[in-house]
């Protein structure tokens, strides 16, 4: 059996087409998987950070996750709102919260300059004496998200400014 040159060329061409199509779909699949993994990573972060409830409807192509605020989310938002009421430049993204766009909400609070300016103002406005170093921009994040006082002198400042109720005497 002798294959003609035409037939040979055709076979090589077909093989190349086959390999090309395979590589194209394989590449598209890998890119899709990477995008899905990235989306799930973002959801995992936002669920943890904002104490959200979540329904994972689909984990691939496309990723579908519904997010709902929990009682703990409300507590986070209350602390955030209280600070924003007193310091209006400390933005409270009411519309994004209403829409449930938690990624947008998160972008608002990650403004380091806004956080630092507000912390500085709180130390200025407070009438109590405090020891140690002043808080940095992470101080407000720690307080709003975890109700953690870092550095510890921020607790007195927050009580003094009326954000937190006074500690019970032991």
């Amino acid at each position: 059996m002798n294959l003609s040159l035409k037939y040979k060329v055709l076979m090589i061409f077909m093989l190349l087409v086959f390999i090309g199509v395979f590589l194209y779909y394989y590449g598209a699949k890998v890119r899709q998987e990477e995008a899905d993994a990235e989306a799930l990573r973002d959801y995992s972060y936002i669920v943890r950070e904002y104490a959200l409830d979540a329904v994972y409807k689909s984990k691939e192509n496309p990723v579908e996750v519904e997010l709902y605020p929990s009682a703990y989310t409300e507590a986070i938002l209350e602390r955030w709102k209280a600070i924003s009421d007193r310091y209006p430049e400390f933005e409270y993204p009411e519309a994004a919260i209403e829409e449930g766009d938690w990624f947008k909400v998160n972008r608002v609070i990650k403004d380091a300059e806004m956080l630092k300016d507000t912390v500085d103002k709180m130390y200025e406005d407070a009438t109590v004496e405090f020891e140690g170093l002043k808080g940095s921009f992470t101080t407000l994040l720690d307080y709003i998200f975890y109700q953690k006082y870092e550095p510890s002198n921020i607790e007195d400042i927050l009580i003094d400014l009326g954000f937190e109720s006074p500690r019970e005497e032991e």
Binding site: A51, D53, A54, E66, S70, Y72
Partner: protein, 188 residues
């Protein structure tokens, strides 16, 4: 002759690729469910998780009760898996935040697949829970132990909005009685 050999080699390679792919797919059907669960947690990025219980609803459906997120493990999840010809597959997962803190008991209502489920954390010294609804129905939920202790109930009949929970210790003494309310419309 040479050409014919080339054709045969190419065909054989193509066939081998397809056959090995089918075999690997088939092998998936015999995989270990615990490995699948681990893999699903990695996919969902719900790291540092704790599995409290795996409930098989029938031969090809399972519910996994877990909590995740170090160090508090306050995100309580339930995941449904289904066995298909490709092995155990993810169907749906629900994660509810329930901070245990000083509470004896917490609980949330959720619907996953065709099932209504009540679940939440409870104190480690609780050995048995009795649930009594307003219309007199009684249930004994399952308890699963990992980082915390979790109670769960897969409802077979009508869900209820409120019930009294009686918590017993291992000696059968009543530790606490609490009334829990459930939002049957969650998550709407």
């Amino acid at each position: 002759m040479k050409k014919r050999i080339t054709v045969i080699i190419v065909t054989v390679i193509a066939l081998l690729t397809i056959v090995s792919y089918l075999i690997s797919e088939r092998l998936n059907a015999y995989q270990d469910i615990e490995e699948v669960i681990e893999q699903e947690f990695r996919t969902l990025r719900q790291y540092v998780e704790d599995v409290y219980a795996i409930e098989f609803l029938d031969d090809d459906r399972a519910l996994v009760f877990y909590s995740w997120d170090f160090p508090a493990f306050y995100n309580f999840g339930v995941m449904e898996l289904e066995k298909t010809w490709r092995g155990w597959q993810f169907v749906e997962a629900i994660s509810n935040r329930m901070e245990r803190k000083r509470a004896w008991l917490k609980g949330t209502y959720a619907e996953i697949g065709d099932h209504a489920i009540l679940r939440g954390p409870t104190w480690a010294s609780v050995d048995k829970i009795e649930i009594i609804t307003a219309d007199g129905r009684e249930y004994i939920p399952e308890l699963g132990r990992a980082e915390w202790q979790m109670w769960y109930l897969i409802l077979e009949d009508e869900p209820f909005e409120e019930a009294t929970f009686i918590l017993y210790d291992s000696d059968g003494e009543v530790l606490k009685e609490e009334v829990l309310e459930f939002d049957l419309n969650w998550p709407e």
